[in-house]
Amino acid sequence: MKILSIALNTFRENLRDKLLYNLLVFALLMIGSSVLLSRLTLGEFHRLILDLGLGSINFFGVLIAIFVGIGLVSKEIEKKTIYTIVSKPVARYQFLLGKYLGLTITLFVNTVVMALGLLVVLYAQAVPIEGMLFKALALIFVEFMVITAVALLFSTFTSATLSAIFTLAMYVVGHLTADLQTFGAKMDDLSRGILNGIYYLLPNLERFNLKGHVVHHLEVSGSDLMLIIAYGATYTAFLLFTASLIFHRRDFR
């Protein structure tokens, strides 16, 4: 209950963030503009709308996750609002989870809004809407949850700016981990070992990317989908656990 109260309060706070609306408007504009672009490229018409639409949702969602996520905790410490919460019977991990859950709710609402925008465009352009699209959207949301946890983890021990940089880097590298492994295959043992270590430590964000499947009408089985979701959930739990450990030891000064 305490976690939920903090989450709902965080959600309310997020709703007042202008950044959120700016990013949301941009996302919707991008999704809408895919219609204009597709006019120019007749043959690839459906593919382009889906590709650009899902890409925009992913990109802007990640920006929200990062730029709202890094402020979740640091703003509370900076404004000292955390003093009154931590002196109440709220364990620090509960505070952290509440903040995380709050942003998750925000991101969920945002994803729904952006997805609705995409559906409207698809419908207006008479693009057939397949079940695969919703699986892709679900995984995009799982990726947001992982990224939010990364941002939260960094923000428990570094400044907001550094957290943003680190999280962005993690996002980019997380999408390249597969390349990391192929790259490592050509190297000596030590380098390969290090690259492999990084590969397993970093989140493999490409796993959550089903854009190709949607565009090329490929299927992903239900059990595969569950496996990917379980991977995302485990990774998130690991990140949140680490963040809690760090947060527990820290001074609020």
Binding site: Y83, T84, S87, R249, D251, R253
Partner: protein, 321 residues
């Protein structure tokens, strides 16, 4: 000795060293502080800016960890979650979620104690009444003045009807009426059997409110005890005389006994060093055939005591520098 069950706050050799800047320069904020606050008393925590009051209170609230030493609340170890349910805290110059109205704000904190529904609603109304903010219950905190924030901040600290109320500078930012109201509120808390620990710069308030005070300086305890005892011990009480038509020779005799002489036309104000000088001074005045207009023993104030203590402890390092 007070039995430990009656000790609400207890610190032993508490120290906090901050590391600041790139090189991790050490700043000692609290230095071997041992304090005890007993059940039911109003305890004033005094000291100049940067003395370490806020740091100590933050350690007690579990916001920062001590470098060494221990602190216990209700005879429970640091970090015991049971202590927090019996506690209320108002931070120094608080910032709150300013998009909430005062009602929503208090309800949010109520939820953190598992209070919901009608019970919470009643409690919130009571508290808004208590701090005189009923008129602003549906106003957003972003539209509040500093004093109004301080009041809802105090209400927030009382939401769980705590046994121990810790207030970091509760009077700051309040107008004279507001300060009076907070004083009355603290006395009301004491009356209902609660323990109050507060820090302040306003010594007059501490003097009228507190059963006991502690004065700290550079993180160290320099004095602790009942206000009256502290005032009795250090202070040699001065006496003020007003004398009419004292001859210059008479004044020469009087000078060695005085701290200060102020001429006001024919009259003069004479401040004697202590009560022991009164007899001698009266004798001189009589022989000089001057007339005594008034004689006022000066009650030492906590402020004088404070300034003396702080200056006394400051001078040695200044000499070295």
């Amino acid at each position: 000795m007070t039995p430990s069950s009656d000790l609400v706050v207890q610190t032993e050799q508490l120290s906090k060293i901050f590391r600041v800047g790139f090189w991790g320069k050490r700043v000692t904020a609290v230095d071997g502080l041992s304090l005890e606050v007993r059940r039911g008393e109003v305890f004033g925590f005094l000291g100049p800016n940067g003395a370490g009051k806020t740091t100590t209170l933050k350690i007690l609230m579990g916001l920062i960890y001590p470098t060494s030493g221990t602190a216990r609340l209700f005879n429970l170890d640091m970090g015991d979650p049971r202590a927090k349910t019996r506690l209320g805290f108002l931070p120094e110059s608080p910032y709150f979620y300013d998009y909430l109205t005062s009602r929503e704000f208090l309800c949010f904190y109520g939820h953190l104690f598992g209070l919901w529904g009608a019970v919470l609603g009643r409690r919130v109304d009571e508290l808004l009444e208590l701090v005189g903010m009923t008129h602003a219950k549906d106003l957003q905190l972003s539209k509040f003045s500093k004093g109004m924030l301080q009041r809802v901040g105090i209400a927030q600290a009382l939401i769980n009807d705590p046994e121990l109320v810790v207030l970091d500078e509760p009077m700051s930012g309040l107008d004279p009426i507001g300060r009076k109201e907070v004083r009355d509120l603290i006395l009301g808390l004491k009356e209902s059997g609660k323990t109050v620990l507060f820090s302040s710069h306003i010594l007059h308030d501490a003097e009228v409110l507190c059963d006991r005070v502690a004065i700290i300086l550079k993180g160290r305890l320099v004095a602790c005890g009942r206000v009256t005892d502290l005032l009795d011990q250090g202070a040699s009480h001065q006496v003020e005389l007003v004398v009419d038509r004292l001859t210059p020779e008479g004044l020469d005799h009087l000078r060695p006994l005085t701290d200060k002489v102020v001429m006001q036309g024919d009259r003069m104000l004479v401040v004697l060093k202590s009560q022991q000088q009164v007899e001698g001074a009266l004798e001189i005045i009589r022989t000089a055939k001057a007339s005594l207009v008034s004689l006022n023993p000066q009650k030492g104030s906590l402020e004088d005591f404070f300034i003396r203590e702080v200056k006394g402890h400051r001078s040695p390092p200044e000499k070295r520098a």
